[in-house]
Symmetry: C2
Subunit: 310 residues, 2 copies
């Protein structure tokens, strides 16, 4: 299969390596010039669990240099860069590839559907992880899985073919019944842990040790539940709360600083507008007030400003 | 006049010195043992604008050692220590002195009226300032004024006598028409500047430079206005906003870190429950939701916990 990875950072690069190793023809597409030219010059370096470095020769391009057509485009840009990437790839998308998004944050599907016919879109969530060590260099740990669903199942003839392609690459994909609910569940978790850990500059275990973490948690998730209900999306604040509490163990995820904390520390814009900020905006549209999520989005934007992040 | 200063920290000590210098018999009362014993042993040291140190011999006692009666008790404890101080002084208050409070925060009057007949209570606001350099040592800058009002004007025979006593000591006191409105105005200012500067670890000018400071400001003050209206207290969000904007100039107050920021930095409990927290509680009682102020109070309590403040 001819596959484009649009947004080939930490996660996109990891997926690209696995899909190429399984025999697919993969192109990594990214706007970060240093990253693209490093891969072109010396390949992509992958540091694995055991500390060993592996170098893969990969095709890497900037969006404006992509002219060929693809069977599948996997979108892995940050939520706030997705619209720009889709505009840059408008020529490529004219050939009607399947478009798969596994990116974090709510609202990505709406963004994609402004550029791609809905019946070509597959959305999902993944618990694979990866971090970008530097240009042309990622560090990967553990394994993961993917859960996905076509946006218009009746018009999407070969989901099992797509799943087979992903599973041939060892990506552990399986079909989901309600991918929107899964996206909201993950966004609910991130809108609590990412946001508060960033605001307080603390790790997940420290957040869990706060005497009032449940009050903070409930203030966010009760508004999620109310907005989800108005938007007819399945959401259980209790389920997400249980998932959050399961992250506190310092021997498991507790010592971890969420990705938004890492973005803030490295002075990169955060995804807050596609987490708490998205729910605040959707709530306003549906006349369901979400003042807690609105304030938290503003507070994170203030912190970005104080750090000089634009 | 026999005057007790109950809560003889930075502000109480400054008032005590001025009132004693004007010929009154002043007793400083405080629960901080080091502070009291230092004053007993070597007097109170006051560093003035010009950097000079002045030492005043003052009577200083812990509350449990106070047995005499007073004409006037000036309460200058932090809001969250006021109830305890009033309990400790119950014997002293049995002699029905006038009780004057100029302390920051809303809700102090309710606390006092649980211990003192309402017609003995005078409340006010002051813009005098002072900081506690160490035990038995304060640093003072500039001048200030006091605005005050009897809680039951008809039953308070000699407000002008009290004002004369304060003015003989150079404290620039004048009567107020609506002291509750003045307390809410100051609390509104503090609930924006103190709270956000503490949360973001920034000074007043940095807060004022945020592109979204008005959004943050309005989220707090619009709830203040709604709760004040339900409680029949005069409050103008626009007036407080103008007062806040006037503090941003880096050549004036802009470089200043508000007192709550200093409390947090020095690992002391903050007065948040008598600012944003008070409005959230009163709003809940009056069925006027104040979710922004409720969340901000929780966020500051979380920061206290992370700093190990109990």
């Amino acid at each position: 299969m001819k596959i484009a990875i649009a947004g080939a950072g930490a996660m996109g690069s990891r997926f690209g390596v696995k899909l190429q190793s399984a025999g697919n023809q993969v192109t990594l597409i990214d706007n970060w010039v240093d990253h693209v030219t490093t891969i072109q010059r010396q390949g992509l370096t992958v540091t694995t669990d055991d500390g060993a470095d592996h170098v893969y020769q990969m095709t890497a391009k900037r969006p404006q240099d992509v002219t060929e057509s693809f069977d599948l485009v996997i979108l892995f840009t940050k939520a706030m860069q997705m619209d720009q990437m889709l505009q840059q790839l408008s020529g490529v998308l004219g050939n009607h590839p399947i478009v798969l998004t596994l990116a974090n944050g709510i609202g990505n599907i709406e963004t994609i559907e402004r550029h791609v016919p809905k019946d070509h879109v597959v959305a999902g969530t993944t618990v694979w992880s990866s971090s970008l060590t530097g240009p042309g260099h990622i560090t990967v740990t553990g394994t993961g899985s993917i859960s996905l669903q076509a946006m218009v199942p009746a018009k999407f003839p070969d989901l099992s073919g797509l799943i087979a392609t992903l599973n041939d690459a060892g990506l552990n994909a399986s079909p989901a019944d309600n991918v929107l609910a899964a996206i909201w569940k993950k966004a609910g978790l991130n809108s609590v842990l990412n946001t508060y850990c960033t605001l307080f500059d603390c790790n997940i275990a420290e957040f869990g040790s706060l005497p009032n973490w449940r009050t903070l948690n409930d203030a966010v998730l009760n508004e999620f539940a109310a907005v989800a209900q108005a938007a007819k999306i399945q959401f259980s604040a209790a389920d997400v709360t249980a998932l959050i509490a399961a992250q506190f163990d310092p021997d498991k995820n507790g010592g971890h600083y969420p990705s938004m904390h890492q973005d803030m520390a490295k002075k990169r814009p955060t995804e807050i507008d596609f987490l708490n900020g998205y729910v605040a905006r959707l709530g306003a549209k549906l006349n369901v007030p979400a003042p807690t999520n609105a304030l938290l989005a503003q507070l994170i934007h203030s912190q970005e400003s104080l750090k000089g992040i634009k």
